[in-house]
Symmetry: C2
């Protein structure tokens, strides 16, 4: 398995404690999740019906501001797993550094997958992958810059897993254009990664292909019920976006005392150059705060935002020691 | 989308009523489900960890009586979706009549997929598919007969989606043999199809391949928590198997009055030759009882077992009219 955040087993194994003692900041998952209401038993017992699935997809269309074809999948990751089969294997170029699953999944399926350093270098690729805003460095690309790529790549995949709190960057309103495929994650912004829900938006042909590969019941009844309710709750989105924006600046301010250089981030996580991330991670881990390191970038430490006030207090106390 | 049970939308559309008015007997999903205990919030919020996934898979191994490699997927259907990629496309032969997704998924991935009338005709296939006991006719194959096939096919896929209540038919204790892959469904016997959980058991190499295709987080935190608890509950399995056995004979007895010829079945569903299944379906549907027809077999009607006593009463009343 590739290096990922959320690998809390590793934290427990190396630094002890019980699962419930840990504050897991190793991911970009919102730690003040959308509240899960009690589910009716039907969501557990019955196969999700076509009309329920359609009503979830309609809610997602509304939330993301698009009329394009859409398919609900078990997380953005599930779409990544299917991506290599949307086109015959060819040249894939991935704007780097970014989420490591793309190169891995594409290579395993016979693609020539390599990193690209800038948007320009994506030109000519059969498949170009851009994560916007980017994980882990928060790099942002304006929609018109990305749209300009459409004419010079086969398929442009824009992974918008972290776009919810910066919706002005989203290309969702342009979804449906031929050669453009957009992935949205439900679990990160809504803080419900265990639900396994995400969406792909694109041309009718591409979404039909993805839906056929995913099969008739790719997501759970719970994902449909929870996702639908959350996606239609505009008040929560607005309140949460404002809070994440505030809190991400609060984290940067808190970190200043450490002399770690801010590299970038999104409202869901921040990236710092610590000089020695393994040492920084180990130090936070003694206080049972877990963070994300990157073996290929030994200085980088990524931190999600603490949730409740007591988590901020614990982080501040450890940083002040 | 192919013809499936559980298509309750269609029932509502053609015969009216509200969702909660209907008794859905169009599937083989147990209508007295395993009780879902309240979930801790972590199962919703966090990415499923490796150790949680492993503990679910260990519970499944114990329940199914195997030490072989195993992977948890979003239903047996999710394994079927990945099946065409386990081997290079070749000749697939499916013991027919059976679950229609096999031929469809294999053909879409470039396989030469065709029906076979008996076990002998599967010989020479690169991939042989047997559903045991079979859906929809309940046909049973003794384990030694299936094992004998291993030497004359490339890969033998045994779909044991309906085997839980007739465990003496299961090949799970033989899983791990090269060329043998077994699918298990969680949702049918446990009555929790909306959870989306199933397992593939097989050789290390095949299970590694399936796991790589499925990606790091194919099932939800809820599926892990609910599945683990249910699979370790032997008392419930024993009690439920006995009840399903009783109730399947009760349904056959109830149907006798109709003059429908019993074709076969499993403890989770029964198949009858009604002469005119569309008419029989329409008649039951006026009482808001939904059933499964098969366009290629116009006489066949498949009925799952009613759950609570009041469901039996409603079915009996409609049949007595």
């Amino acid at each position: 398995m590739l290096e990922h955040g959320g690998n809390i087993d590793l934290a427990l194994q190396h630094f002890g404690g019980h699962l419930e003692d840990w504050i897991d900041l190793s991911t970009g998952i919102n730690r003040q999740p959308y509240p899960v209401a009690p589910l009716s038993s039907r969501h557990w017992t019955a196969l999700p019906s076509r009309s329920e699935t359609i009503s979830l997809q309609e809610a997602a269309r509304q939330a993301y501001g698009t009329r394009a074809s859409i398919v609900a999948l078990a997380g953005a990751q599930a779409a990544i797993q299917l991506l290599p089969r949307l086109r015959p294997p060819g040249r894939a170029r991935i704007l780097a550094p970014s989420y490591n699953e793309y190169a891995s999944v594409l290579r395993a399926a016979g693609w020539d997958a390599a990193d690209a350093a800038d948007l320009k270098s994506l030109a000519g690729a059969d498949l170009a992958v851009v994560v916007n805003p980017n994980n882990p460095d928060g790099r942002r690309h304006e929609p018109d810059k990305l749209l300009a790529l459409l004419s010079c790549v086969g398929l442009l995949l824009v992974d918008e897993s972290f776009v919810d709190a910066v919706p002005e960057l989203s290309l969702a309103p342009e979804a449906g254009r031929s050669g453009l495929l957009i992935l949205r994650s439900f679990g990160k912004f809504y803080g419900l990664a265990g639900v396994r829900l995400g969406f792909a938006l694109g041309s009718d042909a591409d979404i039909d292909l993805l839906a056929a590969q995913a099969g008739p019941w790719p997501i759970s009844g719970a994902a449909i019920a929870i996702g639908r309710r959350a996606l239609l709750d505009r008040d929560w989105v607005i309140k949460t976006s404002a809070r994440l924006d505030r809190d991400s600046r609060r984290l940067d301010a808190l970190i200043q005392s450490q002399g770690w250089a801010p590299v970038g981030g999104t409202p869901l996580f921040r990236l710092y150059d610590t000089g020695d991330a393994r040492a920084a991670q180990a130090r936070l881990a003694t206080a049972h705060i877990w963070s994300r390191t990157f073996s290929e970038r030994p200085g980088w430490l990524r931190l999600g935002l603490p949730g409740e006030e007591k988590e901020w207090t614990r982080l501040a106390a450890e940083l002040a020691r």
